[in-house]
Amino acid sequence: MAFPINATIYVKSVAKSYNGLKALDGVSLEVERGEVFGLIGPNGAGKTTLIRILTTLTKPDEGFAYVMGFDVVKEPLRVKGVIGVVHQENNLDKELTVYENLLVYGFLHKVPRLRQKIEYLLEALGIKERKNSLVSSLSGGMQRRLILARALLPDPPILFLDEPTTGLDPQARRTIWDVIRKGKAQGKTIFITTHYIEEAESLCDRVAIIHEGKIIAMGTPDELKSRLGEFVLEHIDAKGRLHQWFCKDQEEAYGFVREKGIPLTIRKVNLEDVFIALTGRKMK
């Protein structure tokens, strides 16, 4: 089959069902080299299933998926050699130390100059002073940083990050965002799933919105938002119901405020507005 030459990740008509329920239903997308691509959607939308397929943990029922040109079903070993994965769960060996976790992972991935790389990443992610601590004694944020360090250890050209910042405090989240930005600056392709809108907007070059196993919109965050307008006016009536009006620019928004003569709040349109407009539901 024809494979787009620029696509680092190429997914065509992928479907996957669990017990008759469709987790993915004809998903197609392409991610270019060096791009940060976000897959956003509520819990259960199919984000993790797609990541599992792309990282060889699950086989699709239908369709094809390629990573760096390697078929995820037919060439899983080649795929595993070019990816780093941050799972949703903190799947570390909690009875081992920080250093031992990285050492084992480095051996598994045949990382050259392993000990120097471990030292570098411990420093870069601010966990060097916990090098000899048992993982079970680390906070959730520290464990997340360690998982990211682990994924970066083989210096893979592609990173899959499944909800990398869920449950983290703002400082830990910012550290992870910085690492993602540095990865992009180094030319890595980053595929990230999240249900944090601000995360997707601030990090991603392009996003796809997934709902009930289907991609319902795809584009740059600005492109998707511009479908609705630039501003949203909101009013909560006496019964507590929220009313929204989208305006294409500031002039239209002020005109609307004068015309309505009711208390209104104004803010910029975000990706969650796009999701609600497309599905009629809230993201979370």
């Binding site: 699950t58 086989k59 070993l77 994965v85 081992l96 084992v104 598994l108």
Partner: protein, 249 residues
């Protein structure tokens, strides 16, 4: 498979083993049951029992306890480790996503479980050698001992892959391991098993380990047991490999 691709998997398990080894609970649990059997059946009840003119009951019991203890320890560690790692801690997925052949993942896990079985078997042997028993440790003993560890480590891997939770792993253990411990020639010769049970007993792999581990030489009479034991090794390892290759979340 490239050379030592299984080694990181093995290395990880050895690090975990080292950490748990120094916990009192692990060491005691590996030792407690066989030691109790050794004291109760060997030194207590078995003091005046003679199995044959050539050796005492202790000489009969100790190789059986080595087989039983190595079976339990090879099996249970890996069954729990694979099951919990797969379903609860999700650490098994890290191994599956490493760029090494799945054969090496299985081999590394099985070899590490064998170390635990061999370790537990050696502890029993050491305790047994402290009392006069007249056992002789010839080549068939060592080969059967190692094959037994490989076989039950592979079976433990299979159970870890098949069971849908920690409780189910314990259920498999109750139905597979416990009956074998008592009926397969650990505590009394197979000739004393009731006739109706004998066909089932001869289907069990531990029976053949117990037959072989007490032999002093390779002879034609034991050939069938070697074939059965080898067959089980091949069967369980192949099954472990197939389940890993077919793994799909």
């Amino acid at each position: 498979m490239r050379g030592f691709d299984w080694y990181p998997v093995f290395f990880r398990e050895m690090l975990l083993f080292k950490r748990r080894f120094f916990r009192l609970g692990y060491f005691l649990s590996a030792m407690m049951v066989p030691l109790i059997y050794l004291i109760v059946f060997g030194l207590g009840l078995g003091r005046d029992i003679r199995i044959s003119s050539s050796y005492s009951y202790l000489g009969f019991l100790i190789p059986g306890l080595v087989a039983m203890s190595s079976m339990v320890n090879s099996y249970s560690w890996i069954a729990n480790s694979v099951n919990l790692g797969r379903l609860h801690f999700k650490t098994f997925q890290v191994l599956l996503q490493a760029p090494i052949p799945l054969f090496c993942v299985v081999l590394g896990e099985v070899l590490s479980a064998m170390v635990k079985g061999l370790f537990a078997g050696f502890l029993v042997l050491l305790a047994g050698l402290l009392v006069p028993s007249g056992i002789s440790l010839k080549a068939p003993f060592w080969i059967a001992f190692v094959m037994n560890c490989f076989l039950f480590a592979s079976l433990g891997f299979v159970v870890g892959m098949l069971s849908k939770g920690h409780e189910e792993t314990a259920t498999y253990s109750n139905f597979l391991i416990l009956p074998m411990a008592f009926f397969c020639g650990t505590f009394f010769p197979l000739e004393r098993i009731p006739g109706f049970l004998r066909p089932f007993v001869y289907l069990m792999p531990l029976t053949h380990t117990n037959l072989l581990i007490r032999r002093t030489a390779f002879d034609k009479m034991a050939l069938l047991s070697w074939v059965v034991l080898g067959g089980y090794c091949l069967l369980f390892f192949s099954l472990a490999l197939k389940l890993t290759k077919d793994y799909d979340e």
